[in-house]
């Protein structure tokens, strides 16, 4: 199993990362070494083994459906690189 350059670029696209040609080469090399290493799991017999869904054994719990105080909007918007009084501001997403 080895990742081709095109696949490294595709994964970077899925991860919303832009890689330089040097990064594609060096990450490609690293990822291939790591993927070759994790391939060893293919030799484990997992037939009939249930995948772990959680280690704490805690049942999903729900609280009573009552309104709780939430963080004030100003405080959340204050963390953003760009915002007005009501919303996060971003460049145009749809061109028409």
């Amino acid at each position: 199993m080895s990742l081709q350059e095109s696949e490294v670029r595709k994964v970077a696209g899925l991860a919303n990362l832009i890689l330089s040609d040097e990064e594609v080469a060096s990450f490609g090399e690293d990822l291939n070494a790591i993927v070759t290493y994790i391939e060893q799991l293919q030799e484990v017999d997992v037939s009939g083994v249930l995948p772990v869904v959680g280690v704490s054994g805690i049942e999903t719990c729900s609280r009573t459906d009552e309104p709780q105080p939430a963080l004030p909007r100003e405080q959340i918007l204050a963390m953003a690189p760009q915002a007005n009084e009501q919303a996060f501001l971003v460049p145009k997403a749809v061109n028409r």
Binding site: V49, P51, V52, V55, L71
Partner: protein
């Protein structure tokens, strides 16, 4: 190193929390290891004044006046928190992590923020946007990671207590390499609310300190249910107060293969420790964990898969840094992430994205979760014949900065600590002396899930045996 008892004695001798905090702040300013990335002068003195006023009114609490460092991935309202990443530079969280607020409620004073690997991705503290941390025992060597600043801060005596987080060994390995005690509690023992997430099914917050007693006290203060973290257990946490266990009859399991993978000095110390424990009446039991050799591969699928998902939120919109001059939203996401994340973060996001991508999910992530089940079953079988497991925390002593340049060899330095995260077990690293160059060696203790109390009492007994090593 200093201890919580030293602080209590200073208070009993009439010193104020403000004086104690001022001294700790001075030590942090004089630090040469780059363990402390932000000093919270004003906040610390305000917290100390509150504690002094409460004590003057006659109320004492268990961590009164204890100066602490918190890792840069733990939220504290009023100060910058950046997970040692450029992408979060300048971010001020709107709330405080439950673990941190419980420490403060118990009287602790947060004097600063500890350095770490970016987003806790690393075993050497070399991936930090704040620069690397030096090991206090040898500045040319790494302190371990990812909680390297927390470990170095305790080992160099800046604070008696620091908080770290542990996803695959990030508290225990730096504790071992710096010569302090580091605990990863059972998964679900301490709330993760306010911890910047890495691998959500693996992450736990825990203390680093100079003794098992201080570790137990810190755990006791932080543990217990939290309405803000549904994965945090409702179980009562009063078993966490450590009184030393009786070594006579204690069944201590060990895995002979572990020794073979260790440097000679580590092997030698562990051999001496087992002998000393046997002389004190403990029963040493040879254990086999047949699937443990798959733990690193399993971990790097699960941890990176979860990390790639958790780090999707950093996109230049809601918090942190935004790339300039982007003409559309997709470009804004890509440029902000590409400029903001360091190389190891990108590498792990890429690996995680790959193992979760369509067509590969079953072969990697699902299979890793099945092998995780087998690793958990191995531990359950092992703990039928022993009370706790003893082994090395790290295969070697602290290595030199820059020594492990390829990612895979770095990942393998967590080979002994990762399985406890996969299984949710409580695990602790205890100093057991040093090698001929004076570099610390740690023993790794693991107990069954929720047996944090058993782990700490056994550790307290073993700590006595190693006194003076």
């Amino acid at each position: 190193m200093s201890s919580i008892r030293d602080i209590q004695e200073a208070l009993a001798a009439g010193r104020s929390c403000c004086e104690i905090a001022t001294q700790a702040l001075k030590r942090a300013q004089a630090d040469t290891t780059n363990a402390v990335v932000r000093i919270h002068q004003q906040l610390a003195l305000e917290q100390a004044a509150v504690v002094d006023a409460r004590r003057a009114a006659g109320e004492q609490r268990p961590l009164d006046g204890v100066p602490v460092l918190i890792k840069d991935n733990l939220c504290l309202q009023g100060v910058e928190v950046s997970a040692a990443s450029r992408i979060l530079a300048g971010w001020h969280p709107p709330y405080t992590a439950t673990a941190v607020s419980r420490l403060i409620d118990a009287g602790a004073v947060v004097i600063g923020t500890a350095n770490m690997d970016e987003f806790a991705f690393g075993s050497s503290n070399e991936t930090s946007a704040h620069g690397p941390v030096a090991n206090p025992h040898d500045p040319t060597r790494i302190p371990g990671g990812s909680s390297g600043g927390s470990a170095a801060g305790v080992a160099s005596g800046i604070v008696p207590l620091a908080l770290g987080s542990d996803t695959g060994g990030s508290i225990r390995q730096p504790a071992a390499l710096c010569g302090c005690v580091g605990l990863k509690p059972s998964y679900g023992r301490i709330s993760r609310y306010g911890l910047i997430a890495f691998g959500s099914s693996l992450d736990q917050i825990g203390p680093l300190s100079s003794s098992v007693a201080d570790t137990a006290l810190a755990l006791q203060v932080m543990a217990g249910a939290d309405a803000n973290d549904a994965t945090c257990s409702q179980r009562p946490s009063n078993e966490c107060l450590a009184s030393a266990a009786d070594l006579a009859g204690l069944r201590i399991g060990w895995v002979p293969e572990h020794d073979r993978d260790c440097a000679p000095a580590v092997q030698q110390r562990l051999h001496e420790l087992r002998q000393a424990l046997a002389e004190n009446g403990a029963e040493l039991v040879e254990i086999s964990l047949p699937h443990e050799r798959f733990a690193v591969a399993t971990y790097y699928i699960i941890a990176t898969g979860e990390a790639s998902s958790n780090l999707n939120r950093f996109d230049g919109v809601h918090y942190g840094q935004r790339a300039e001059g982007c003409s559309n939203l997709a470009e804004l996401y890509r440029q902000s992430r590409s400029q903001g994340f360091g190389a190891e973060a990108k590498r792990r996001i890429m690996l995680g994205t790959y193992v979760l991508s369509a067509g590969y999910y079953d072969a990697y992530y699902k299979r890793a979760m099945q092998v995780r089940s087998l690793i958990i079953e191995d531990f359950q079988r092992a703990f039928a014949s022993c009370d706790l497991l003893l082994g090395p925390t790290s295969p070697s002593v602290a290595f030199r900065r820059g020594e492990k340049s390829d990612p895979l060899s770095m990942y393998l330095s967590d080979v002994f600590t990762i399985a406890a995260n996969l299984a949710g077990l409580p695990a602790l690293s205890l100093p057991i002396g040093s090698d001929e160059q004076g570099l610390p060696i740690g023993a790794h203790l693991q107990a069954p899930q929720w047996q944090d109390g058993r782990l700490l009492s056994a550790a307290a007994a073993i700590e006595k045996v190693c006194q003076g090593w």
